[in-house]
């Protein structure tokens, strides 16, 4: 279980997180929604230790995330980045098998390649793509490779940062389905940040609405349409009028 308790983070004068408290139960798929610049990515990066919170505590299964062996901690995570963040200088299979080629989980090269090809197949890519470079792939294919890399070492927790941004609706649907299937079959805890409501409905068990640096609402995906929270209602219906100020 991931737990954030009263987490604050500011960059200079700008207070991005103003006391985020959130619980993500083990094996559940939590989706955090919210407008651009509300601190969703920062919250995710705080959990991974990419950004150090100013105050508050973050725990994974009761253990503070900033204590203990960092490599062991990170080995429990996989992450799909918004722009896939594939390493340009490495081939597709080397990207997917990155963790398996070095560090504590190092495997022989042939075995790592086999696993990479298996994971590529799982996300719908043929073995022929294994020896291509990321620059030779379309945006949708890059996302799939990023997904294959995130699941390559069978992590307990998977983070998805805006998984459908920049994709056409059909490819977005394919990625959403893949994410859902993979999370269910791996039994992993998933945390997704998005502002795409189609993604929310496809991926989420639970939803949290982040606005102005705090969690405004949490509930199950089934409850989201019937909830009375004006922030959630404005967001899910994409209304310009409401408590969330839109810059025109």
């Amino acid at each position: 279980m991931i737990q954030l308790d009263n987490v604050h983070k500011a960059f200079g004068e700008k207070r991005v997180l103003r006391g985020v408290t959130l619980e993500v139960p083990r094996g559940e798929s939590m989706v955090i929604i919210g407008g651009s610049g509300t601190g969703k990515s920062v919250a995710l990066k705080c959990i991974l230790g990419l950004v150090r919170p100013d105050s508050g505590t973050i725990t994974l299964d009761g253990q503070p995330v900033d204590k203990g062996d960092r490599d062991d901690f990170l080995a429990r995570f996989g992450m799909l980045f918004q722009g896939a963040a594939l390493f340009d200088s490495l081939t597709v299979w080397q990207n997917v098998a990155f963790r398996l080629l070095r560090g504590n989980q190092k495997l022989p090269k042939t075995q790592a390649r086999e696993i990479a090809i298996e994971k590529l197949r799982r996300v719908g890519l043929t073995p022929e793509t294994a020896d291509l470079y990321p620059a030779e792939l379309s945006g949708g294919m890059q996302k799939r490779v990023g997904l294959a890399r995130a699941i390559a070492a069978d992590p307990e927790v998977i983070f998805f940062d805006e998984p459908t941004t920049g994709l056409d609706p059909i490819m977005a649907g394919v990625i959403n389905e893949l994410i859902r299937e993979i999370v269910v079959e791996m039994g992993a805890t998933a945390m997704t940040i998005t502002h795409d409501m189609t993604s929310v409905r496809a991926i989420a068990d639970d939803v949290a609405m982040l606005h102005d640096g705090v969690i405004k609402w949490t509930g199950t995906v089934v409850e989201i349409d019937s909830c009375a929270d004006p922030y959630v209602q404005q967001f899910i219906h994409g209304r310009a009028e409401g408590p969330i100020e839109a810059v025109r």
């Binding site: 990170l74 995570f77 560090g103």
Partner: protein, 263 residues
């Protein structure tokens, strides 16, 4: 009112001074981090070998051409100056000593700074902007160890070799001009070069090359990893990497020359 008038210009001076000192502090901490990771596993030999090729081998043409033309121009200049007091015979030895002690390492270092610091800063800066550095961290890989250490080590090892090769090519440039343009006897020119050039001349230039290589790669990595967002951020990081590497080369060259001179 009068106090504000007095403090405002002082604050205007103090702010950039403090920012500059903070920047130097961050650079030193970065250098210490790189240095400490040199001695701790894991070591990424594949990345090191790749960096040796891109930093050392591919810089050879530009360093070689710079040295060749500099050696030739140096021979002409020294001939012109020395002929005023009938000391033309000193041309070969002064070209050799000048190339080995000063021009080989400094011009070679500056050319490597232009070629390598910029490419390292742009590459790592782009990796930062596209979240590839964050991805490295989530894949349990320390970015300093994986990106900076192989590059800094490769530059520290290969730039002295480039300097030594550049010295030879520069001396050859002087010989070509001396023999073909200034009517020196080829054998006498070479004998004069060998007789007066000491091992310490070459060694001091090569040692400077190691320091310059370290500084060039360090600046490229530092500014790349601290790059701002977007194309503008990467562009600024690249510019700062080249400028600071060049200034540090010239500054450290004076300090090293003083040290070798006093020794």
């Amino acid at each position: 009112m009068s106090a504000a008038l007095l403090t405002r210009p002082l604050a205007a001076i103090g702010r950039p001074v403090l920012a500059g000192l903070a920047s130097v502090g961050r650079m030193v901490l970065f250098a210490v981090a790189v240095f400490s990771h040199l001695f701790r596993p894991p070591w990424y030999w594949r990345e090191f070998a790749h960096a040796v090729m891109t930093i050392g081998w591919y810089s050879l043409p530009v360093v070689g051409l710079t040295a060749l033309f500099t050696g030739g121009a140096l021979a002409l200049q020294i001939y012109d100056g020395s002929s005023r007091f009938s000391a033309e015979a000193a041309v070969p030895s002064i070209v050799a000593i000048g190339m080995a002690r000063e021009l080989g390492p400094v011009l070679g270092g500056l050319m490597v700074a232009a070629r390598v610091a910029s490419s390292i800063a742009a590459e790592i800066g782009t990796m930062k902007v596209t979240e590839q550095i964050d991805a490295l961290v989530t894949l349990s890989t320390n970015p300093i160890k994986y990106l900076a250490v192989p590059r800094v080590l490769a530059a520290t090892v290969t730039v002295p070799v480039l300097v030594a090769v550049g010295d030879s090519i520069g001396i050859m440039g002087g010989w070509l001009v001396g023999v073909n343009r200034l009517d020196f006897n080829s054998a006498a020119y070479l004998k004069n070069t060998v007789d007066f050039l000491e091992a310490a001349d070459v060694a001091s230039g090569v040692a400077k090359g190691a320091v310059f290589g370290f500084l060039v790669a360090l600046m490229g990595c530092y500014y790349g990893m601290n790059s701002g967002r977007g194309a503008q951020g990467v562009g600024k990081a690249t510019k700062l990497a080249v400028v600071s590497a060049s200034v540090l080369i010239l500054g450290s060259n004076y300090i090293l020359t003083e040290l070798f001179f006093s020794a």
